[in-house]
């Protein structure tokens, strides 16, 4: 399947300040992509460059195999057939819900236009609000109107900038599922920007992890979690710690919680100094285990408890266990590691963690 959207080595800067460095990724038709990263990492800039609101300094952006942005050329936003849902929705306050949705449909035949609007109003459960003004709607309703308005002209691509950041935390996960279903129902291709992993996991097929204008990894949620490309991704996605270790052979590595045996996700030679990613769910409590750790801290999370544990060599690990495993702070407990796939990253010569590095 040919990609709808392609970014090829895109650079972007404000003055001397580089915002986007050598960004490349592809998004195929009908799939929902997500740019995930801490605030200020350049993800919104990328979105605005794709929409045509920002010019790029180098590289190319292609939509349906046609160049829409390059160093020389910048197709006007209104010519791109790209819809956008803004972070603050940017609904037109002087127009009703149906007028807002109709705004991008002026070149379309009247009967077709009415048909489309009614269809959208029904699908997005907005039929009762068609004659209301934006300020009369709740946050969730406003967001659906913004989505309907962007979907109406049947754009090749829909961009969404932090679509849930204005909404109540409790609503977010529910709404991200809802938005996903609507986008899928319309067969839309979408690129979404967020800093919230749970939202990203809930809504998207593919996720790009960004920081400092770099794309670290473009992959499915499952792969990001279980096979992170580098330590930044490992650290950013999910919870976990990196323990120092030394590779013994092709399947074994020795660490502060003993010798681990499993499949390495990277080729490493024996004797290599590495950091090993340990997720909280990898650590189980086992009273008669050889490996002991001291409880430093614990956080009750309802069904489970997150323990912070101090190993004998001074390193810390997290452990997520069912909440009937009660241990007091200061207690020494036995732990066991359950791990089939081992994620490890070579440590550089100084022995310091190389967090910001892009590739290994």
């Amino acid at each position: 399947m040919s990609p709808i959207l392609q970014l090829q080595n895109v650079f972007q800067s404000y003055g001397d300040l580089a915002i986007i460095k050598n960004m490349s990724f592809k998004l195929s038709k009908g799939s929902i992509g997500c740019l995930l990263g801490p605030s200020g990492c350049g993800k919104t800039t990328i979105l605005r460059a794709i929409a045509g609101f920002e010019e790029i300094m180098d590289g190319r952006i292609l939509l349906n195999d046609t160049v829409i942005s390059s160093k020389e050329k910048n197709l006007k936003p209104e010519k791109r057939k790209i819809g956008m849902v803004f972070q603050d929705y940017a609904l037109f306050p002087h127009l009703t819900v149906s007028e807002n949705i109709a705004f991008g449909l002026r070149h379309i035949d009247r009967t077709e236009r009415i048909l489309r609007i009614n269809n959208l109003l029904d699908t997005l459960a907005l039929a009762d609000m068609r004659n209301k003004y934006p300020h009369e709607l709740s946050g969730g309703q406003q967001q659906r109107v913004a989505l309907a308005r962007a979907l109406a002209p049947k754009p090749d691509l829909i961009l969404m900038d932090e679509p849930f950041s204005n909404l109540d935390v409790n609503l977010r996960e529910k709404l991200s599922m809802e938005v996903r279903n609507i986008l899928k129902a319309y067969g839309a291709t979408a690129l979404i920007v967020t800093h919230n992993q749970l939202e990203a996991f809930a809504i998207s097929d593919e996720i790009g992890i960004m920081s400092d204008g770099h794309m670290h990894q473009w992959d499915t949620a499952h792969k990001l979690y279980h096979q992170p490309a580098n330590e930044f991704v490992a650290d950013f996605v999910g919870e976990g710690v990196l323990l120092q270790g030394e590779v013994l052979d092709k399947t074994r590595v020795s660490t502060g919680i003993g010798m681990l045996n499993g499949r390495f996700h990277l080729q490493c030679n024996a004797g290599h100094a590495v950091n090993v990613l340990i997720r909280p769910d990898d650590i189980l409590h086992e009273d008669d285990s050889q490996i002991k750790a001291k409880v430093l801290d614990k956080t009750f999370r309802g069904a489970s408890i997150m323990y912070s544990l101090l190993l004998e060599n001074g390193e810390k690990v997290l452990s997520l266990v069912p909440s009937h495993h009660q241990h007091d702070i200061g207690m020494k407990i036995g732990i066991k590691v359950m791990l089939d796939d081992i994620v490890l990253f070579p440590r550089d010569r100084q022995g310091e963690l190389n967090i910001t590095g892009m590739s290994y």
Binding site: A51, G52, F53, E54, K76, P77, E78, K79, R80, I82, G83, M84, F86, Q87, D88, Y89, A90, L91, F92, P93, H94, F103, G104, R106, H107, Y133, P134, H135, R149, A150, A152, P153, L159
Partner: protein, 555 residues
């Protein structure tokens, strides 16, 4: 809290007792201030319903048609003029980048410092037959070859007032375009609308309530204007009221003309308040901090610069230069003991007025704070209505009850001791200050009340918990928070009073000539040059609140 306490103390007395207990000191103060403002309005309106024999017929037959027609043309012309200047300049400075656009953004507010009557006489002096421009043209082209439009015409007065008043529309429209940000335009862009279509279908309709509010302010100013129209000999209600009173000594004719004007003004006011409430809903998303502006190129770039520069020149730069030239010519003769006296009067009235207004505005604002809803906020509305009353109307509305009270007092005095007194209150400084108080209450109250909103209930509660209450809380917490608001209010009112013309002219004590009064007297004799010195002084003073305003805009 208060309600609970009341219930405990006065349970089961009367069901209506709670209404009565709500009437405390603050309630009474607010009521009295509202009453003071209501008196002149009531007096003026009353004369509409109690017509004096003969006067109405005369007015309707000989005076009203001309006044209504003149007012209509003035309002229509000035609305069109300010709308075109204000909206286009606001759009250019808020959304576009062209040479000097950042300077123009605040500089285009400078004409606010120019009282319309100053601009009026400078224009007359510059452009009339003997003025420097026409003389130069005649010398250059020969006497018979120069056609020049007559400046002292309807077109002339409309031009001058549009140049003096466009900043109201500019300020509000710019505010609208800035707060819209480019987000709404981007949204339009992503839906296939280009910049031109986006402007007419999104930006302009969204800014409509702001623009309307600006235009309505302009209309109220145009209706209230006395100085500029009298310099142009353009008869409107304000000049007719003045003439009826001081020319024909017919206070009842003045009152009846006032009643018609005030009804026109209140209709405008009603419309204005409705558009204000629309503004709340006219936002598209949040204000976006970084709104990328449109960079203009080629002829658009220099055309925009030329346009903004010519408006600023006509409304501010050229008049100030002309005033300075004139002032230099007459400085030696005019700057004397008499001139210092005018300044002293202006300053004194300004200071007393500003202090009085701030004091009453503080009381009103505290009253509103103690009774956040219900009738007290209605009182504050009435108390601040005076800004809508044209100065001439207010003068009539204050003079009539004061004269009535005066007669009673004089009679009373004469029964006690035989005196030669004919008046006690009329033509005194306190009465003049009273009129200022009503006229400028809104200006002072606005900035004090917005500072008051920053003292939330939890601030009071927090200071109580740290043991600070009563006067200590007032001086330690409230005053520091209110300080800037009060200072701003005082400056605005002070400058407004300095520039105020009709009320001062009609109500000043004998011999209390101020700068504005002097300008009126000199310009009514065509002495433009001699009027330049007081005018320049007022313009310089008027720049202070403009700076305050533009600073507020930056924040």
């Amino acid at each position: 809290m208060q309600d609970i306490n009341n219930k405990k103390d006065k349970q089961n007395v009367f069901p209506s007792i709670r209404l009565i207990t709500r009437i405390d000191g603050w309630w009474v103060y607010a009521f009295v201030i509202a009453l003071m403002a209501a008196v002149p309005i009531t007096v003026v309106l009353n004369s509409l319903f109690s017509p004096t024999e003969g006067i109405w017929d005369h007015l309707i037959a000989h005076v009203l048609p001309e006044l209504l027609l003149n007012t209509f043309w003035l309002v229509t012309g000035v609305t069109t003029g300010t709308l075109m200047l204000g909206v286009s300049l606001a759009w250019l400075t808020a959304v576009c980048v062209f040479p000097g656009s950042r300077i123009f953004a605040w500089a285009l507010l400078l004409p606010l410092s120019m009282p319309s009557y100053v601009l009026a006489f400078v224009f007359l002096g510059l452009f009339n037959f003997t003025g420097p421009l026409q003389t130069a043209l005649r010398n250059w082209l020969g006497a018979g070859n120069v056609y020049f439009p007559d400046i002292s015409s309807t077109g002339g007065v409309i031009t001058v007032m549009s140049l003096a008043l466009y900043p109201y529309v500019y300020l509000l429209a710019r505010n609208a375009f800035m707060t819209q940000g480019s987000r709404a335009l981007e949204a339009a862009g992503s839906l296939g609308h280009g910049k031109v279509s986006g402007f007419f279908r999104v930006a302009l309709p969204m800014a409509r309530p702001w623009i309307a509010a600006g235009v309505l302010l302009v209309i109220m100013e145009a209706l209230a204007d006395f100085g500029a129209v009298s310099i142009f000999n353009y008869n409107t209600f304000t000049t007719a009221i003045y003439k009826a009173w001081f020319g024909f000594f017919s206070l009842s004719a003045a009152a009846q003309l006032s009643s018609i004007l005030i009804i026109i003004v209140f209709v405008i006011l009603l419309v204005e308040q409705r558009t204000r409430s629309d503004i709340k809903f006219t936002r598209s998303g949040r204000e976006s901090a970084a709104t990328p502006k449109i960079k203009l190129h080629g002829w658009l770039k220099w055309g925009s610069f030329g346009f903004a520069f010519s408006v600023l020149s006509a409304a501010f730069i050229v008049p100030v230069i002309q005033l300075s030239i004139w002032a230099l010519q007459v400085y030696k003769i005019e700057f004397n003991y008499r001139y210092l006296e005018f300044i002293a009067h202006s300053l004194l009235l300004g200071i007393i007025g500003a202090v009085t207004v701030c004091l009453f505005a503080l009381i009103l604002s505290y009253a509103k704070r103690h009774h956040p809803d219900g009738i007290v906020s209605f009182f504050t509305r009435i108390a601040t209505l005076g800004y809508a009353m044209p100065g001439t109307v207010l003068a009539v509305g204050v003079f009539i009850p004061v004269a009535y009270l005066d007669n009673i007092l004089v009679d009373l005095m004469n029964t006690l001791i035989t005196t030669e007194l004919s008046s006690i209150l009329k033509g005194t400084v306190p009465v003049l200050i009273f009129a200022y108080l009503i006229r400028f209450m809104a200006a002072g109250f606005g900035s004090i009340d917005s500072a008051m909103h920053r003292i939330t209930r939890s601030i009071d509660e927090a200071s109580r918990l740290t043991g600070l209450s009563g006067l200590k809380m007032l001086s330690g917490i409230h005053l520091p928070i209110l300080k800037n608001g009060v200072i701003t209010a005082a400056i605005i009112v002070f400058i407004d009073i300095m520039k105020e013309m009709p009320i001062t002219l009609m109500m000043r004590p004998f011999g209390w000539d101020t700068l504005a009064v002097k300008i009126f007297e000199l310009t009514s004799e065509g002495e433009w040059t001699r009027a330049s010195l007081p005018a320049l002084t007022l313009v310089l003073a008027g720049i202070v609140p403009v700076i305050l305003l533009s600073r507020k805009g930056e924040k």
